[in-house]
């Protein structure tokens, strides 16, 4: 087990240092690149917070969808094969729900303020509700 402080705490300190001490000393291209760098660190902070849970859930969904197990990379390669060869992947509600949820988790890390992501929240929530209904019916 790694000692504390944890990685997100270290990144937070570095990000604050860049924002508060370095940014005021820069202008032009360097000031722009620093803002981009700070946003990149924020992305890493979100990934550390979200990805472990998101990856676990993604793997669970894939195992159920494909009836197979393996690493996340292997499962995704199988999923691609399924999408490429299945008769009607676009009509497969469980597949679409999986893709929406996986993509939503990616966006929550990569670009949580992306307008199309924000505008899709209601649709994503309705898919999650639909899945909960399906699961209840299965039991």
């Amino acid at each position: 087990m790694q000692d504390e402080p944890r990685a997100p705490e270290i990144i937070g300190v570095v990000r604050t240092f860049l924002q508060e001490r370095i940014a005021p000393c820069l202008e032009g291209r360097e000031a722009f690149d620093l803002r981009v760098a700070v946003r990149a660190l924020e992305l890493v902070e979100r990934e550390l917070a979200i990805a472990p849970r998101a990856h676990h859930e993604e793997a669970q969904r894939l195992e159920k969808l494909l009836g197979a197990s393996g690493s996340l990379g292997e499962l995704n390669r199988r999923l691609i094969e399924f999408i490429a060869t299945d008769a009607d992947p676009l009509g497969n509600a469980a597949l679409m729900r999986h893709l929406w949820k996986t993509t939503a988790d990616k966006l929550a890390v990569d670009q949580p303020r992306y307008a199309a992501f924000v505008a899709s929240q209601a649709h994503i929530e309705s898919l999650i509700a639909q899945e909960a209904r399906t699961e209840r019916e299965e039991r």
Binding site: D33, V36, A37, R39, A40, L43, G73, N76, R77, L79, I80, I83, A84, P89, L90, M96, L99, W100, T102, T103, A104, K106, L107, D110, Q111, Y114, A115, A116, F117, A119, S120, H123
Partner: protein, 278 residues
């Protein structure tokens, strides 16, 4: 001035700069606003491939065009002007043009398929989008016309009164005119204004109606939709190509390194198209 260093091709997709200069001269004659080419570099100049254009004042940075109050009236007319300008581009006689690449729906989907297959990340959404494209390819074969190939915010120079010039002609090709209308409406150029599909400044119908009035040709809405999905996928793959740059070229700017993470934006855009939300 637009120039490539001698013996060095920066872009592999585009045409020779001397050909681009000829295309610009021809579209200008057809009434398309584009910078006048003053001089094409020759071998004796020793500066490589290139040409010098007449300087036009204006703004190309989308964030400024979309937000600054001084472009308020320009924003009102841009969607319509885009329709009129595209109609003029698509009317150019192709016999007069230098030899250009050609494309159609099938060749474009094949090209994207190869690109998805060789991509660095497994992308189920991209593979599904390819299935959607094969199921939704335009019923009628599109006309074969000169297309700009990269007609979008960023390549339009804007003044307070509206569009002053269409820039960057190196991706011009012969193919379906609907692809140009569609590329302009791809979500990636809306900069947050997703309810304004035409580059963040207007709605599709304004663009289509102006195009139909200026060209006398009907806009095939379903074909535009097909080409928008092609466009979103194309942009997603372009974003992802920055990953290869990150791993192969050192150093790379922070900006380019993180652009690879913007492919996921196009994934949600593609899901929205396939769910009928776009």
């Amino acid at each position: 001035m637009r120039r490539r260093a001698q013996g060095k091709r920066v872009q592999t997709e585009g045409m020779d700069l001397s050909d681009e200069a000829r295309v610009i001269a021809i579209v200008r004659e057809a009434g398309v606003p584009a910078p006048e080419v003053e001089y094409v570099l020759s071998t004796e100049d020793g500066l490589g491939d290139g040409f010098i254009m007449h300087r036009i004042e204006g703004e190309t940075i989308p964030a400024r065009i979309l937000r600054e109050p001084r472009f308020g009236s320009a924003r009102q007319v841009m969607a319509r002007q885009c329709g009129e300008i595209l109609a003029r581009i698509h009317r150019v006689k192709i016999e007069a043009l230098p030899p250009l690449g050609a494309f159609d729906a099938d060749s474009e989907v094949d090209r994207l398929t190869r690109s998805v297959e060789t991509g660095a990340n497994p992308r189920p959404v991209f593979v599904l989008a390819l299935r959607w494209l094969r199921q939704n390819r335009p019923v009628e074969e599109g006309r074969r016309v000169l297309t700009h190939g990269d007609f979008r915010m960023g390549n339009l120079m804007i003044g307070e009164e509206g569009i002053r010039a269409v820039l960057d002609w190196e991706l011009a090709r012969i193919g379906d005119p609907m692809s140009d209308l569609a590329w302009l409406c791809v979500p990636s150029w809306r900069f947050g204004r997703i309810d304004q599909p035409v580059g963040g400044v207007g709605v599709r119908e304004d663009l289509f109606v102006a195009y139909e009035a200026a060209s006398g040709k009907r806009v095939d809405r379903a074909a535009v939709r097909f080409w928008e999905v092609v466009g979103a996928l194309r942009w997603g793959l372009i974003c992802e190509s920055n990953l290869a740059a990150l791993r192969n070229e050192q150093p790379i700017s922070v900006e380019r390194a993180v652009i690879a993470r913007r492919s996921s934006e196009t994934e949600i855009d593609l899901l929205r198209y396939m769910a009928g939300l776009e």
